[in-house]
Symmetry: C2
Subunit: 158 residues, 2 copies
DNA sequence: ATAAAAGCTCAACCAATGTTCAGGTCAACA
DNA sequence: TGTTGACCTGAACATTGGTTGAGCTTTTAT
């Protein structure tokens, strides 16, 4: 077996390996690192080496992205995890429950919008005074200055 | 070949007036014009003057934005309208029916995602092989290279 | 030993939706 | 007539989530 396993490092992963196994591009991993979502240590020759738990972290990132959570928020959430250890099922539970709420609100928001649109298609009004579509603020508050949320996972032209 | 405004021009609107009455910034109106969503003619001194129907067009734009239709698509839709005349109730009906579909799909998409998330919160797995959240493609196809859709109307820091 | 593959950094660029600024002009009111 | 507020253009900047390229180094395979 392994003659020199000081601590179970379990073979660090290179950036290319992480990219292949997680399905995100190398450039994206660099980017996530700059943004503080993942960490690496360096080889003697200054190349990135990742602990295996990075795979789970990237998985969390990808799911959060699909839900529509901006990276900055994911960064905060991941930072709240005890560093050094891999996110456990319990950690994931905590994060995902929060994000689920977010998702739910978004769905609710869109559903209300759809209902208003249905009304409006009927009346065809776009009336300045009466149309609820044109006059938000009752059901749909313009909730301050937040990051934009994207829905789709498109935009992967390759 | 237009000696005098014979037809009821009804006092053209300045860009400031349109901004105040439509609730969008002057800079946004310039932008919409560059993108071909609205048109203006010019005063003797090269200032923009708008026909009143611009207000209705801007209303359509704003609603489309809330629904999450990218401007380029709105531009196409507005261009398909007989130019020169204001969008009628019937025009609006046609457009909004299409956009409603779009909205519906988006809601559906998000709902599926929520259901998957619910499953996953329960199991806490994020399993590489089993987790549907991590392995899209069955219910949620990564549908090609489309424009991103935004949900919120935030990001108006002023 | 050497060549190819993979990795490094930094900068520039993409798309979408605008805003802000600088420098100059126009229009309306007193 | 003068002043002030509204308007003009063009360029640069902002945000989010990355990608692409140039130029150079490290690692791996033959």
């Amino acid at each position: 077996m392994d003659p020199v396993p000081s601590i179970d490092i379990g073979k660090a992963l290179t950036v290319g390996e992480v990219a292949r196994r997680s399905g995100v591009a190398v450039s994206a991993l660099h980017f996530y690192e700059r943004k503080g979502l993942i960490k690496s240590h360096r080889s003697a020759g200054n190349q990135r080496r990742y602990h295996r738990d990075v795979l789970r972290r990237v998985a969390v990132i990808k799911v959060a992205q699909r839900i529509g959570i901006p990276l900055a928020e994911v960064a905060g959430a991941l930072a709240s995890l005890p560093s050094g250890r891999s996110p456990t099922a319990r950690d994931w539970s905590r994060l995902s429950a929060r994000w689920r709420q977010d998702l739910d609100e978004r769905i609710h928001h869109l559903s209300q919008l759809r209902d208003q649109l249905d009304d409006c298609i009927g009346c065809g009004c776009l009336s300045l005074t009466a149309c609820r579509l044109r006059n938000p603020g009752d059901a749909l508050a313009e909730t301050g200055t937040g990051a934009r949320r994207w829905e789709g996972d498109k935009g992967k032209f390759r």
